[in-house]
């Protein structure tokens, strides 16, 4: 058993070689979660979560099913409120303002914090209208500006070359991987500060997954990214920091290479070496 763990660790090391070294100096903090508790009715979904998310980094959240990782992500843009029985306590400071405050409007928050979902969910509209959706709801009507936003966003999501000749076709005609990149482009069109990704590659084939992962690496130059994933190799490949959640608690949160090579907690080690989860 011990040998197996050793092997796993060398594997993790192997896939990390070639990745950029993590910058030692922590950048500005974007999200500061303090003593966050969350209940679904009687179920205590998140327990005393304390977590800092840094600018221009990819923060991965890993953990077994039902550990609260998606719930935490959805709290960051208050999407969790769509479930009516949810209660929260504690605070989440986004750029130093508590987003759980009653007077923080969700529309404002979600304009700055974009989200990419597990299942690609383009609108049954043309590719162009999908991308222009965000700018339009924020009041941009000028066709020329919209054209520019659409091109810039599609380029940003590395899908411009694939769709530039069929912007007026329905986005549902695209493959799953392309649809997901359309969703990323649609999110970029609002020019967010943070992008939340909820298992964005779990419905995709390996090649599309690779494309999305490369894209995430590219995007972190301009955005701060929080990504929930059930794929530990993915977390190891693309993230700068990793938080390990278990039963609603943050067991360990550190630089990704620390988590994957020298985890402090036995449970983290057990999880990343595949002994449960």
């Amino acid at each position: 058993m011990v040998l197996k763990i050793q092997e796993e660790k060398t594997f993790v090391k192997k896939i990390q070689t070639g990745a950029k070294p993590v910058t030692e100096v922590a950048g500005n903090i974007v999200y500061d979660t303090r003593n966050l508790n969350l209940w679904y009715g009687d179920h205590h979904g998140l327990k005393d979560v304390n977590l800092g998310i840094y600018e221009n980094e990819v923060t991965a959240i890993i953990g077994p099913s039902g550990c609260g990782k998606s719930t935490y992500l959805k709290t960051l843009n208050r999407m969790v409120e769509l479930v009516p029985i949810v209660r929260t306590s504690g605070e989440i400071l986004y750029r130093e303002r508590n987003i759980l405050d009653k007077d923080y409007t969700v529309e404002e928050l979600r304009t700055r914090v974009g989200m990419v979902f597990q299942k690609p969910n383009p609108f049954p509209k043309s590719i162009y209208d999908n991308i222009a959706y965000g700018p339009r709801i924020h009041g941009i009507k000028n066709k020329k500006i919209l054209d520019e936003i659409v091109e810039k966003s599609l380029r940003g999501a590395a899908i411009w070359d694939e769709v530039k000749d069929r912007l007026n076709q329905n986005a549902y005609g695209l493959s799953g991987g392309q649809q997901q990149r359309i969703c990323i482009a649609r999110c970029l069109a609002v020019e967010p500060d943070v992008i939340l990704m909820d298992e964005p590659t779990s419905a995709l084939d390996p090649i599309s997954t690779l494309k999305v992962e490369e894209l995430v690496q590219e995007l972190k130059k301009d955005y701060s990214i929080v990504i929930v994933t059930h794929n530990m190799q993915q977390a190891a490949r693309i993230s700068d920091r990793t938080a390990f959640f278990l039963s609603g608690e943050v067991i360990e949160y550190d630089k990704t290479d620390v988590i994957f090579q020298t985890p402090a907690d036995q449970r983290t080690e057990d999880y990343i070496s595949g002994r449960f989860g």
Partner: protein
């Protein structure tokens, strides 16, 4: 030790397969029974009515003489009626459905409202007629007008439209709404740009089917006291009018045999209108339905 004895299984096999065939035949007969009855009815009406069905029948007013009797006043009256019922019931129905599905919190009061809207759809139409008579004809003093009858019919089909619209709205995947909210859209923007475009085919289909019920409904009109024999066309919403089912009812209860044929011709006109409306509903559903 095996629990399943193969020879016993094989023995039962023939019996099971026969049973399967028997049930299939029974269900087929059930289907055929309804279809044959309908076919006989249609055949009778067509053979009786077709002789009276011509341009004169469509352009003449009612008459004491069977061969001069026409359906003009009733046909135009029914169209006027639809002109009131369609906007009133669709606007109120879709508004209610949107409120219940998108805005209303899930609590006991709203659950109670939801449940009772479905119950309301089962209330006999004559009760709605009495309601219309009290409120619209007497209290609001609209008289036996198109407006009073239109409001009454709207109330009658409102539950059906609400339920249809609720189902169409519920069928829009929640991922679609989340995508919109995720970009900072308000609820109203999400409804207007995501929910309604996806739900409109379903809403329209349900509404048109409900309207075709309203156009054939007789009992509320009888209770409201809508006249039958009119020699003029309505000239406004407060004008008196008559409607297709009233006219047919009147002809069918006359003693002269010739009027039975006239009634059949009237039924043919009504059914043509109904089929036309239902075809529009099917066309809309097939053409605009979105798949996810």
């Amino acid at each position: 030790m095996r629990y399943i004895d193969e020879t016993a299984v094989m023995k039962r096999m023939t019996k099971r397969i026969t049973f399967n065939k028997v049930w299939k035949a029974l269900f087929f007969l059930a289907t055929i029974f309804a279809l044959i009855t309908l076919a006989i009815l249609l055949f009778r009406i067509v053979t009786q009515g077709i002789g009276y069905l011509n341009i004169d029948f469509l352009t003449n007013f009612a008459s004491r003489f069977a061969d001069k009797a026409g359906i003009k006043a009733a046909l135009v009256g029914s169209l006027w009626l639809m002109g009131v019922v369609a906007p009133v019931s669709i606007i109120l129905g879709v508004g209610t459905a949107l409120y219940l599905e998108e805005y209303a919190k899930k609590n006991r009061i709203n659950d109670f409202i939801r449940m009772n809207i479905s119950n309301l759809a089962g209330v006999p139409s004559i009760v709605f007629g009495l309601l219309g008579l009290t409120i619209f004809v007497r209290m609001m003093e609209l008289g036996k007008s198109i407006l009073a009858a239109g409001f009454t019919m709207s109330l009658l089909i409102l539950p059906v439209i609400i339920v249809a619209a609720q189902e169409a709205i519920r069928a829009v995947p929640s991922e679609q709404r989340e995508a919109s909210y995720g970009m900072g859209a308000t609820k109203w923007q999400t409804i207007l740009r995501v929910v309604l475009p996806a739900a409109i085919p379903g809403i329209l289909t349900g509404s048109i089917l409900a309207l075709s019920r309203a156009i054939g409904e007789t009992a509320p009109l009888v209770v409201l006291g809508i006249p039958v024999i009119l020699q003029f066309l309505p000239d406004g919403l407060l004008s008196q009018f008559t409607a297709l089912p009233m006219q047919i009812y009147d002809w069918a209860k006359r003693p002269q045999e010739a009027f039975q044929y006239v009634a059949s011709a009237g039924i043919l006109v009504l059914m043509t209108v109904l089929l036309l409306m239902n075809s529009i509903a099917i066309f809309i559903r097939n053409k605009f339905q979105k798949r996810y």
